[in-house]
């Protein structure tokens, strides 16, 4: 795989990308490129992998999905909306007074949000505790966590990598959103080698390719006691819209009328 092949593949989930842009324009806030970077991973998980019951978000036998890079929450919200966890009204109230959907997910407000994240490096160790707790109680739930590559600057990610491997949390699967944000600051960033060094099963994929996503998550065995798996997903920040792709001003920018038209024209 090379960068050109990523760019040339068809863009997935255009409808959800449009919804994200509409939410940001209406709410006058949000991180569009970060959400686009992980949207295909999260959408694949909710559509093809995760076991859940939107009518019973706390169903005992559910799989847990934790978005550790909380600022990508719009990718989570549109999936929670698609699958019936949150309502049209909740979406309309994104970043508005009285709403439940803010710029980071809040477990105490949002049905289906398994952790309140935003401060980086918290979701993964929190997930380790939930996974270990279920194993202690003899339960076979599965645990999925999405972390950002910038988030992998945080020491707790590597404390967690060390701990999860030594606890043999085979029921844990982490996806790294390797969109190269981190490399802007710290250019040496061999993400697969780092996780390999901690003893994890490492799978490297194109995080915007449906087949590769499917194969990667299907290959995880989720043994109650075993080696945890990391899916290092090569992604593109702002994927799908050339105007906002990359690492510049669009990280936290609200499209104006002309930009909105251009974005929607592409999508």
């Amino acid at each position: 795989m090379n960068d050109m092949s990523v760019i040339q593949k068809p863009v997935l989930n255009k409808d959800l990308r449009r919804q994200i842009v509409d939410m940001v324009v209406a709410g006058k806030d949000g991180h569009i490129p970060s959400a686009f970077s992980i949207l295909d991973i999260i959408t694949h998980l909710y559509a093809k992998v995760l076991k859940f019951d939107a009518k019973k978000p706390l169903w005992d036998a559910r799989d847990y999905f934790i978005l550790s890079k909380g600022h990508g929450c719009l990718a989570l919200y549109v999936n929670l909306h698609r699958h019936g966890f949150v309502t049209d009204h909740d979406v309309e109230m994104f970043c508005r007074f009285g709403g439940i959907l803010g710029e980071h997910p809040d477990m105490t407000k949002v049905p289906g949000a398994e952790a309140s994240t935003g401060s980086l490096g918290h979701g993964l160790p929190f997930a380790i505790g939930i996974a270990l707790g279920h194993r202690i109680q003899g339960k076979d739930n599965r645990f999925f966590v999405v972390v950002g590559d910038g988030e992998c600057h945080e020491g707790t990610i590597w404390e967690s990598a060390n701990l999860a491997r030594n606890l043999e949390l085979g029921n844990l699967c982490v996806a790294v959103d390797w969109n190269q944000s981190a490399m802007q600051l710290l250019p040496y960033d061999d993400m697969p080698a780092k996780w390999k060094a901690f003893g994890w099963n490492v799978i490297v994929i194109d995080g915007h390719d449906a087949d590769e996503l499917n194969k990667a998550f299907k290959s995880v065995t989720f043994a109650a006691k075993g080696i945890p798996t990391v899916v290092v997903a090569k992604t593109v920040k702002g994927k799908g819209v050339p105007l906002i792709e990359g690492h510049g001003k669009w990280h936290h920018r609200i499209p104006n009328t002309e930009e909105y038209a251009e974005i929607m024209g592409v999508l």
């Binding site: 105490t108 309140s116 160790p125 270990l132 707790g133």
Partner: protein, 307 residues
Amino acid sequence: MAAASGPSVRQQFADTMLAVGQEDPSLVVVVGDISHGIMQAFAQACPGRYYNAGILEPTMMSMCAGLARSGLNPVVHTIAPFLIDRSFEQIKLDFCYHKLHGNIVTVGSAFDYSNLGVTHHCYGDFAMLKTLPDIEITYPASLVEFDALFRQAYNNKSVTYYRIPGRIHGVDFKASDIKLGKGIKVADGKDVTLIATGPQLNTALQAREKLANAGKDAEVLYIHTIRPLDEELVRASVLKTRKVVVIEEHMRSGGLGDDVLRAVQGISDLKFQSVAIPDKFITAYGSYDELLGVAGITVEAVVSGAL
């Protein structure tokens, strides 16, 4: 460490874990390579519920919040500066923001590890934790207190902090005397109220004797629960004496003294003294008692403040 010979609250911690763990399969103990030896009885009696997680305190804290989320009752334990100062955001967000329950048990608060220096001291912990909603803060300085407070709080809906001192205060309380959130009147008096927490109850009682020789009748209150504070007990006593001295092994800012001041606000002709660690780093080496002297926490300071 300041641990006096004889029974220790730390050993009681291990004993209580063993006893409660055998009664309640939801109890899980996670340590950061501290107290590993004394926890072996619990580890053997409660297989799969004891973890020595290594030296990664913030991650250990988040993990314990996750254990709580899974329905278990976690106990997380290591040295105070690493569990409170270093892991504060994890307590704040992963436990408190999530409204999860848990138990944080430390040794090595204040300057119990006197010779290890500032990196191993922790005397701002009350102040830091008091910024978190709904947290319970306890300072059990006798064996019976730890056991009683833990049993009362370990499976409630709050995060509870147990600051285990290296030294006991030496007063024998009955288990029935110990109630979370309730202070204890240890001695009656009418001229001044001495309010002590932790091992400093011993200092307060020594000061009371000296004050008696000077013709002053001191009332002594003991506070094992910093939050929620028994404001009713404090206020009733100070309304009577109009003079209060608070003795604590915590920085003056944000300690028990501040809460006492708030509790007694509005009482007229009030005199207040704080015998606490000054708002600075204690950089001297020496014994725990010597560092108490450096901090100015002495019987003489209490007597002086009470006269």
